[in-house]
Symmetry: C2
Subunit: 277 residues, 2 copies
């Protein structure tokens, strides 16, 4: 018997860093989009622990932390078409998916909130993420109003096509260990703006402003966003990766060849061998 979980990717538009003594209450506020392209994690009982990412043995620190919490050895297969280290929350998705699928296969029932806290804490300790896990658990277009595994959430009602183009990677750990004062001030201003007018348009506008204020916009991303806008579209940079996200056919209209996905409304969920039923 195998346990299997599907977890959406998550692109962050803007964020503020909130540190506390407890990793469960450490995290970020901000907003982003859960996308249909995500991560599938399949877990089976095994004699020794193994973790594979797209068929190759891999060490994903927060996944190891989650497996430590269960103790019993399992074989973990993480599969994703998303680029790693490019701002899609692959580590958060792999970590939450591992927690959900492992609890299932070992018949050690835990509530969703308990699994979210386990995965979020592992991400914070590994410096791989501060808010992806809670957003990926929820799905949709999550607004993280308060930091941490149990922080208050809201969302923007939205649907539609999303395009993305990964141009390179940025180190999440590097940005998150730098001084984040200016970044967090810009993130708080963006959050206030989004709460006042909760639309996808505001999210994209606020995210572009945040990327400039926080000094994270790279020349390649700036060029692509400008090209999308020149073609009449709307685009933003994903935090933290050198990745451009556009609404509708924004990147296609500007002459790029992006990957096409949509908003994932479901968030992280278990799935059967042959789908949901």
């Amino acid at each position: 018997m195998a346990g299997r979980a599907v977890v959406p990717g998550h692109v962050t538009g803007f964020f503020s860093v909130h540190r506390a003594d407890d990793p469960a209450t450490t995290g970020s506020t901000g907003a982003g989009i859960a996308i249909a392209d995500g991560v599938t994690v399949t877990v089976e009982q095994a004699d020794t622990r193994t973790v594979e990412l797209n068929g190759t043995a891999a060490t994903v620190d927060p996944v190891e932390t989650v497996l430590d919490a269960f103790g019993t050895p399992v074989r973990v297969e993480i599969e994703t078409a998303l680029p790693v280290g490019a701002g899609f929350g692959v580590s958060g998705a792999a970590t939450l998916g591992t927690a959900m699928a492992t609890a299932t296969v070992l018949d050690e029932p835990r509530s969703e909130q308990t699994l979210i806290e386990l995965a979020h804490t592992a991400e914070v300790k590994a410096h791989t993420g501060l808010g992806d896990v809670v957003a990926q658990a929820r799905g949709g277009v999550p607004i993280r109003l308060a930091p941490g595994a149990a922080g208050a959430l809201d969302g923007i009602p939205a649907t539609g096509r999303i395009e993305y183009l990964a141009l390179g990677d940025l180190s999440t750990a590097q940005v998150l260990t730098d001084d984040t004062t200016r970044l967090s001030a810009a993130g708080t201003a963006a959050l206030d703006r989004l709460r006042e007018t909760p639309t996808l348009d505001t999210l994209f506008d606020a995210a572009r402003e945040f990327a400039i204020e926080a000094d994270l916009l790279t020349p390649a991303v700036r060029e692509a966003i400008t090209a999308v806008e020149a073609a009449g579209g709307t685009a933003m940079m994903s935090m933290l990766g050198e990745t451009v996200i556009a609404r509708g056919t924004g990147l296609s209209d500007a002459g790029y060849e992006p990957t096409v996905t949509g908003i994932d409304h479901a968030g992280a969920r278990l799935t059967g061998e042959s789908g949901d039923f």
Copy 2:
């Protein structure tokens, strides 16, 4: 242009009633299952307000309350294959879907939490529901830990086939205006049990016990649940309707001809004319 929202049905396993002066904080705690069979609400601008349920003019009190909050007249089409008044949360789904689709078509952006509060409050005022709206917004197998539009939620990680059989209807308004002391005590005991072992099996067990303790189990439902158990399956009664819910092929295995659905992981969402993308 039309706005369209899809909202899952919700079958409640057990609940406790919590009344407050403010309808937004009045509600129920408990647990249930969001099911893939649900309600689609399509809203268009119009010269006069009209509401249709499956093609026939209808008055749904909490839907009217939501439309009053917007003011501008719209044409609302509510479509569902679910039976009305049989414990599937059709009124909650219609109300939340109307709020989401109307905000979209009128371009009056509101956050998901604001729309949930609007719909929940309308349901409480109309005595048509106390907890369906928040569960339907979330999707999955929601545990309502605290009452009201902003009450804390958790969930049971689960997937799989669900079968249902509607045998008749019960009046939600009648049960909710009766003395609910005994019912609420039984609901609190069931919730404690589910939090200790958060699995679908516990939900079904606790729901069966609740139905007996709260004196809501009807002879027809009792007979069907007993037949499912005799065939090796698991079933419960949906609150509040004369409806039997089974996991997997429980009702089929017992010789019934149930409707087949699954767990809806997404919860309420906007949808485009041609699906999500």
